[in-house]
């Protein structure tokens, strides 16, 4: 396959997987927008080549009840960094959740920040915590 055709095929993968959250490509496309990255930079963050980035995009989004196992399988096959990919998926899932349901005044960590105008707001909760847990 010549380079031009390869580029076309890769573009089709990025474009089409970006339309459906069932594919890892959807979350990576969101991450690109959030972090203002192009495909090469994204591949670099994951520690893989462009060819393998295409493979990652074609993977199914890890299932909720088998997240770690699915993630391990994906990364073992594609060479992507588990830590980097997990971080991207969680970040984008959280951002999507927040964009659909903005935090209310009952949200603990946000209330705390608003009560102390002189202090900078606390960072969002970690991976395993929900906003209302604080």
């Amino acid at each position: 396959m010549n380079p031009h055709d390869r580029e076309s095929l890769h573009a089709a993968v990025f474009r089409n997987t970006a339309k459906d959250p069932a594919w890892v490509g959807y979350w990576l496309a969101r991450h690109q927008q959030t972090e203002d990255l192009d495909e090469e930079q994204l591949a670099g963050k994951l520690g893989i080549t462009m060819e393998n980035l295409v493979l990652v995009c074609l993977c199914r989004t890890p299932r909720s009840d088998q997240f770690r196992e699915d993630l391990r399988i994906i990364c073992q096959r594609t060479g992507a960094s588990e830590e980097a990919l997990a971080g991207m998926l969680r970040q984008e899932a959280t951002l999507l959740h927040w964009s659909e349901k903005p935090p209310t005044r009952e949200t603990g960590w946000l209330m705390a920040a608003s009560d102390r105008p002189d202090e900078t707001p606390e960072p969002p909760p970690g991976d395993d915590e929900q906003p209302h847990d604080k």
């Binding site: 076309s8 074609l58 993977c59 989004t61 909720s64 997240f67 395993d128």
Partner: protein
């Protein structure tokens, strides 16, 4: 844990039987490896379709089938055939839709041209033997090429060779000749329309 967030898009159906050698997250990834064979088959079936469109259809087909891997029955055919069939179907759908749109646009364009031509022809016909017809022709066609073109048009001659000779562009490549002919046609028609509009306005005024 934010794992609950991933339930939203995940199917809650039990995972259907599939080839045990392909782990669930990697089905489409593994099937992607057949892209060269599949694209070669489909490109042969659709030689006039752009390669980019075939790639797009292949990936669409891959993602469609990747979500329901139970559609692949090992006993009924091989994966390449299945992927090629699905890709070809998508190419056909897109091609059909694109062709229909092009035909509609072409028809619309022809209708506009026909309408304009008809209006322009009416002007010259209606003027008939009247002295004004001579003046209208002089106004519509000011150069020798324009007069030759208008003469052919009035006689309903649309032979590209004669038209190119009338415009003195027969030495140019065919594509360029067509561009010049179209340009001339548009110019003459617009002038005739304006003449017609002016005459209508003059007739209408007291």
């Amino acid at each position: 844990m934010t794992a609950a967030l991933f339930i939203r898009w995940e199917s809650l159906r039990p995972i259907m039987a599939l080839d045990p050698s392909e782990p669930w997250p990697l089905i489409a990834t593994e099937w992607y490896a057949y892209h060269e064979k599949v694209v070669a088959i489909v490109a042969q079936q659709w030689p006039t379709v752009r390669r980019e469109a075939v790639y797009n259809a292949f990936i669409d087909a891959l993602l469609e089938l990747g979500k329901k891997p139970d559609a692949f029955d090992h006993t009924r055919g091989n994966l390449v055939t299945l992927l090629a069939g699905a890709t070809s179907r998508l190419v056909r759908e897109t091609h059909r839709s694109d062709s229909a749109r092009e035909r509609r646009e072409e028809k619309k364009g022809k209708a506009v041209v026909a309408e304009r031509d008809s209006a322009a022809r009416e002007i010259v016909d209606v003027l008939g033997d009247k002295e004004l017809a001579h003046l209208a022709r002089a106004e519509a066609a000011r150069t020798a090429e324009e007069r030759r073109y208008l003469d052919l048009w009035e006689r309903r001659i649309d032979d590209p060779v004669q038209l190119a000779q009338a415009l003195s562009v027969e030495h140019l490549p065919e594509e360029q000749q067509q561009i010049e002919i179209k340009r001339m046609h548009k110019r003459i028609m617009k002038r005739l329309e304006r003449i017609g509009d002016r005459l209508s306005a003059e007739e209408g005024s007291p």
